[in-house]
Symmetry: D2
Subunit: 251 residues, 4 copies
């Protein structure tokens, strides 16, 4: 943990916190801000909250399902109570959403609905809940208040048998572009990150990618560093879309 | 109406039939096939069915809400009964979906849900209902059986205040790409058309676009002709994505 | 050959005529217009001129190197003399340009220069020579006067070891987009076609693509039909970019 | 200037150094490496070399025209002599290339040739001269050796009357993609940056953009910081293409 004192008036919020990107992003932003971690289940964030606190940072975990507007509203009531007077410097939407890879004729409409709800509706609820606070931070935040959205290869490519996943990820990208065009001129940096590869997390430990060579999977800490770099971009030079992939990845 | 006799074994299906593109597509495909017209309300297709029949073609209108799988299933029961033994040569998804242009913080989550349901879930249900029959037609159809999907500028660009519309249209594009990659190699032509401009239909009569100059709005008959050209492409030269815009349109 | 009489006042011009796409395009447009065939060497067009004349069409072959402005100017002097008073309905730029697939550090700068000259400068000279006549045809041509440019996979994707080819093809695409935006509003249809696959011509007879399955290579006649369809699009519904690939092609 | 000692074994090279991006990039990379500045005329880099040296950094200016392979070779002879034993950590191609904004029919073919030579051939020569040394640095460089290429809006959009500029910039993008796919798996990070706006430099001081609001032009220092961030990306998370634009920019 950095020795820089964390902000007294700003905080960061990460939705979709588990053992991978979410954890790394939370740790990175905790070097500068108190961080709030959202996940559907407390077990997803509990150990990360402890990890941040043990390192001298401030962290709060709140259970919330971003696909449900009421759940998001309830979570923000808790945040307001626990972090009174603080406004958002950064909001990261890192929710994975549903994921069914099957021949199209074997997919259930509920698979599609899950993908759309988890991805598009989740971002919608998250953005509606965070943008007012991000806008409020514009005059005082040392870095442009940022809404950063995690995407995937499927955000820009509908591969065979990935239809429902692509539908959700494409929808998120379209909505994010629209938010960037509406809120950018108001001073909020809205960025979309295409994570084009397999992330190196416990869940993917058994996958062999890029012939098993070193750094053939994406380091979640590297993703987090890039999110921090996006957040600290000068407002005269905002990136709207960033691609990240291992040096070995075919694309 | 052409004097070519319509097919005895194949038919075409157009979902989203109203006074604009749907009507023109139905009339165009009726020159070669019996056509089935789907719309939520019978008044949307009734006069078009009459128009096709009066010209010597075969047409059937069926009320269906493509965003509802049960409604689609019921519609196909009717189609099977009325067109026994026929399989699909072409299926056109031309459903408009929800459309709310507002500042993002004023949009309701139901606006998003409507867009996702009307666009993405609508296409999902439509594709699941039609692809088995399209596949069945591959060996015998004179032209590659085709699934053609109508898109819009918002399919590739999330403009400010168009977020929910873009979410639905991006989702449709992602799903369509995936279907193209899965079913193309099986002989079904899946194409996505980006209609990049205002269509010249009764509903847009009052809009002034491209300074009101002639042909500044897209002719729905021209769209239909392009759909027919997509349908009749040789399988060695499929187009996956087609853009259509007035010669005057800024892009 | 169609029985429709060819135009008395308009003609079509195809640059880059050999045994493949150029021949098929020439034959297709010769059904409606006298056609002029440009190639660097007369042996590239001689038999095609004969073939068109034998079928009752009008054809003229002129040797020209489109990468050389003086050569293009000389060719147009011949055209004006041989087809007095006629203006252009369609101009097709189908020149292949240089092509060196090598590890980058083994490529000579002359390979790059050849690709840029054959592709970008070739199109530049061709467009400067043809656009004045295409503009002149706007008021009288039954179809919007058209400038159609052949591209390739490398127009949108710089693959490893294809750098010089991609440089030339990307440059052509950029220039074509610019021409579309300048001349479209003046009534000239400028379109770019991404031919994404191997064309089925004598030169590629030995290539095994798509596992050797039928129609795994692109039919040049199918390309020509698509060019004709582009040419005859209504001006309210111009396509700027068309992709063409075999149903079996991975993309 | 940072107090971090500059590298003893690595250096950075920036081609296209003038009062704007090139200067800022040189200053930024000089915090970690000795820097070599290339420009056609010594007056373009002389004051920047002095500025870096005055701040305690190491800098060398060399006159070279990157569009001329012999000039580039001569420049590298000087570099090898002046920085014996050092290999490249970073090479930045920031050459502007020709620029003629005119109606297409008024453009000279020499305008096109200048754009292609300055942009595409310039990058070609620069990449051939630097990649062997970048490859050599892979095993020892603390950050992945990087080739970073400056692009513009015209790299991805051919606007009306920008045809020759777009041709050059598109060509550069295609070549850069190809290099990324060939050299990325060998450990060299090849990135393309789309600078989508007017840069805030002396030459653009009189331009009013984005209504003259603060930070409506891109800060060259912000560009430089982003180039540094690209250079220091972990090899499991390379960005191939980065867009940078003012928060106020329409896109």
């Amino acid at each position: 943990m950095s020795t820089t004192p964390v902000s007294k008036t700003l905080y960061a919020l990460i939705a979709g916190v588990g053992a991978g990107t979410g954890r790394s992003v939370a740790l990175r932003f905790a070097q500068a801000y108190p961080v709030v971690l959202l996940a559907r289940k407390p077990e997803s964030y509990a150990s990360i909250v402890s990890e941040i606190r043990a390192a001298g940072g401030e962290a709060l975990g709140v259970a919330a399902d971003t696909s449900d507007a009421a759940s998001v509203a309830a979570a923000f009531e808790i945040v307001k109570r626990e972090l009174p007077g603080k406004t958002l410097a950064a909001a990261v939407f890192n929710v994975a959403g549903g994921f069914a890879i099957k021949p199209f004729l074997d997919v259930a409409v509920s698979d599609l609905d899950d993908s759309l709800a988890g991805n598009a509706r989740g971002l919608f609820n998250f953005a509606q809940a965070t943008l007012p606070s991000l806008l409020e931070s514009v005059p005082t935040s040392p870095h442009p208040p940022s809404l950063i959205v995690t995407g995937a290869t499927a955000s820009v490519r509908g591969s065979a048998r990935f239809g429902t996943f692509a539908a959700g990820k494409f929808a998120v990208r379209g909505l994010t572009q629209s938010l960037a065009r509406e809120f950018g001129p108001q001073g909020v940096h809205v960025a979309h990150v295409i994570v084009d590869g397999v992330i190196d997390i416990p869940r993917t430990a058994a996958y062999t990618v890029n012939e098993g060579k070193p750094d053939g999977k994406i380091s979640p800490d590297a993703i987090a560093e890039n999110y921090w770099n996006l957040h600290t971009q000068h407002r005269s030079a905002f990136t709207q879309e960033l691609d990240l992939r291992p040096y070995l990845e075919k694309f």
